[in-house]
């Protein structure tokens, strides 16, 4: 009785989708047809998570959200299905699993790159201002690379060669934290193809410690 079976599953599917959609509508702005920043804020407070918590960023990544501060219905559906959740409580639990998923090396770089792209709010924007970068670095890498990030953020704030950071520089920050020994910076070679901003950072560090 295949028909019956598929009926059941599709019914179940439809039922599951219904729940997801219902959840979506709880937070969506009806005139736009998507969840806007206000909605997200509400979602956060319901999840018991701070608006600026990195787990929200991870959720956005999982949803493959295109625009910062907004979730479309498609994104919501695809994302929650991928998480295998259809209710608020399930979503809450899924958040901690999500953290582990992101930390998997195969996902981490993807998430890291996503985080930068997520900040490009204007069309044709290619770089992000220093302030936001510092916050983002703290959010995304702060836990894993606390000392490096603190030092790097300090440098970014005092230097004035660069007012914005582009994606090439961004991706190299992660590389730097992963590859370069800290705080001695012993294996950093300025003749290599590191972005100039990191050359300058290393020089600044070396001067501070001499």
């Amino acid at each position: 009785m295949l028909v019956g079976y598929s009926n059941v599953s599709s019914k179940a599917k439809i039922k599951g989708l219904e729940k997801i959609d219902r959840l979506f509508n709880t937070y969506a702005n009806s005139s736009f047809g998507m969840i806007d920043p206000e909605g997200i804020e509400a979602l956060c407070s319901d999840l018991g998570v701070d608006y600026t918590d990195v787990r929200i960023l991870m959720l956005a990544w999982k949803l493959k959200a295109e625009k910062q501060g907004y979730f479309t219905q498609d994104e919501w559906q695809t994302g929650l299905k991928a998480l295998g959740v259809d209710s608020l409580s399930k979503l809450k639990k899924a958040l901690s699993d999500l953290e582990k998923e992101v930390e998997k090396p195969s996902n981490y770089e993807d998430f890291y790159t996503y985080a930068f792209r997520y900040c490009l709010t204007e069309e044709k924007q290619k770089s992000v201002d220093i302030e936001s970068i510092c916050e983002l670095l703290n959010l995304v890498l702060g836990v894993q690379f606390r000392p490096q990030i603190d030092s790097l953020i300090e440098y970014l704030k005092v230097q004035n060669d660069y007012k914005v950071i582009n994606s090439d520089q961004w991706i190299n920050f992660l590389r730097f934290c992963k590859e370069i020994s800290f705080p001695d910076l012993e294996n950093y070679d300025a003749i290599q193809a590191w972005p100039l901003i990191l050359d300058n950072y290393v020089e600044w560090m070396r001067e501070k410690h001499s």
Binding site: S127, R175, I191, Q192, L196, D199
Partner: protein, 732 residues
Amino acid sequence: MSNQKKRIFQIEAFKNRVVVDPKYAEKTWKILEHAIHEIYNHNASGLSFEELYRNAYNMVLHKFGEKLYSGLVTTMTAHLKEISKSIEAAQGDLFLEELNRKWNDHNKALQMIRDMLMYMDRTYIPNTHKTPVHELGLTLWRDNIIHSGKIQSRLLSTLLELVHSERTGEVIDRGLMRNIVKMLMDLGSSVYQEDFEKPFLEVSAEFYRRESQKFIECYDCGDYLKKAEIRLNEEIERVTHYLDAKNEGKITHVVEKEMIANHMMRLVHMENSGLVNMLLNDKHGDLGRMYNLFRRVPNGLAMIRDVMTSHLRETGKQLVTDAERLKDPVEYVQRLLDEKEKYDGIISLAFSNDKTFQNALNSSFEYFINLNSRSPEFISLFVDDKLRKGLKGVSEEDVEIILDKVMMIFCYLQEKDVFEKYYKQHLAKRLLSGKTVSDDAERSLIVKLKTACGYQYTSKLEGMFTDMKTSQDTMQGFCSSHPELTDGPTLVVQVLTTGSWPTQPSITCHLPFEMSALCEKFRSYYLGIHTGRRLSWQTNMGTADIKAIFGKGQKHELNVSTYQMCILMLFNNADRLSYKEIEQVTAIPASDLKRCLQSMACVKGKNVLRKEPMSKDIGEDDSFFVNEKFASKFYKVKVGTVVAQKESEPEKQETRQRVEEDRKPQIEAAVVRIMKSRKVLDHNNIIAEVTKQLQSRFLANPTEIKKRIESLIEREFLERDNSDRKMYRYLA
């Protein structure tokens, strides 16, 4: 053999054995022994060679070769022992002579004996592997005479004493020496080496060690080298006269080591006479001698080269950083040219044009010329000076020589693009003020620059020349199409193509009516021929000749700048003008205005204007009048032309900044060019390639190149490879 039959001629062995008389051998030997005695006693003439030969032959044939041979050895040995005694008995000088004589005798005897015993030499001896007669004779001589206890050491010491005497200036019998030494050589190379050469070399080394020590204490470098050279030549000569020529190298090596190698350092650095002193005073003879001597020892030339290089770098550095000299650019460059010429002379005359020295010279010059970042500017000023007046009256050949010398210095510059900027500025001023001494010289220099740096370097400069020529033609056309303009002020226009000439920001001031009308006529004429072009008058660059009549009727022709002309013409309609009025009517920029007024009101001999108050600076509340009392003994008075000067600090900064800005697109263009052809390339290789491509213009900074690459990445001309972040990829 009388076995002749009329049959086929056959040679058969003896059918019947010849009975050999046992005493036969002894008898035969005695004959031969006797002959040997006679030979040694100089009585050989009475002997029959044929008979002796036959006897020896028979002995060998009858298997008595052994007896013959051992007999020979015994007999000869006995004779040699006697000879030995007579040599030992010789006194003093006669020792060598006796030895020589006896040796000659022995050789003669040996020759005869060998001829006599030739059959044995050819048959018995090879079969039994015994020493051949001649060699035997030498060996026996060696063992019994040369190596005899009483002779061996005496021989050596006699020879060494003779050499020593000759070294200390005495004359010796060289022929005798030669013979004795040849004797030792004939006895075999081991004899020569052990019994003479080795000790000779040791003693010589000791001799020269002492002598060099003495010399180094009392002679200065130049004299010491002369002495060393003399000694070296002496030894070479000695070899040709009586030593083994094949081993000349051994004794010269001793002299080189003891006299030169061991004291090289001290000689080179000797105060007041060493290498540096020789270089400073152009002592070509001494330098040449040092070069030729030091060339013979390991690292000799390297030492000279190193000391020369560090000295040159030091003096060069002082030259370019000497504050006094920096005040006069022409003097600065002249001094560089002089230094180059000096060292070229030294290298060609004293160091036989050695390439490695030439390279050391080049690298040193390149090093210190670039220590001073104003070198490019100064070289351009030097050229400017020469082309304005320095080359006046100089023949064409000499002009070429001077320009070639300047080009050599130019090639040492790393920042050739800086030079180009200054050269353009200075050339523009020369061309526009008509102040160049020789058009041919200008052109010649452009050609040389093109050869050194490529077509692109000089294309704009050549454009400037073209503009000048074209302007002349344009003027001709203008004048012939406006014949009515022959009365009234004459206008000479030079039309400059923007882009070829150094850009100057200009605000056109207000020209006096007579001039502006004329300029309009020209403008419409020109635009009539060249539609689609735009003309803008560069009032900050022109000149004017004005005829003026002063209070007491003094007539003068004043040569002034365009700005100054505008100011002066105002006084045709007013007796007194304030600074502000002048500024307003002429619209000349303030700083230029002040400079113009200053040169017309405050400079003695050029004060065509009078200023109230009479202070030396121009104040905004000053008033100006014509100086009715103006006096000059010249009819034509030149009031302040703009001449190329050393830039002031802020101007220098500005030029430097413009150069830096210009470099950025050049670097980017190089990066794109390279990446386009290679598609994928790693970081270090890009840096290397870019630097190489730009080398002829300037030394590219790796950090700057990196910045440009990052900018190109941002603009999506390039990207980093995802897996290997050191690699860049070209994005089509």
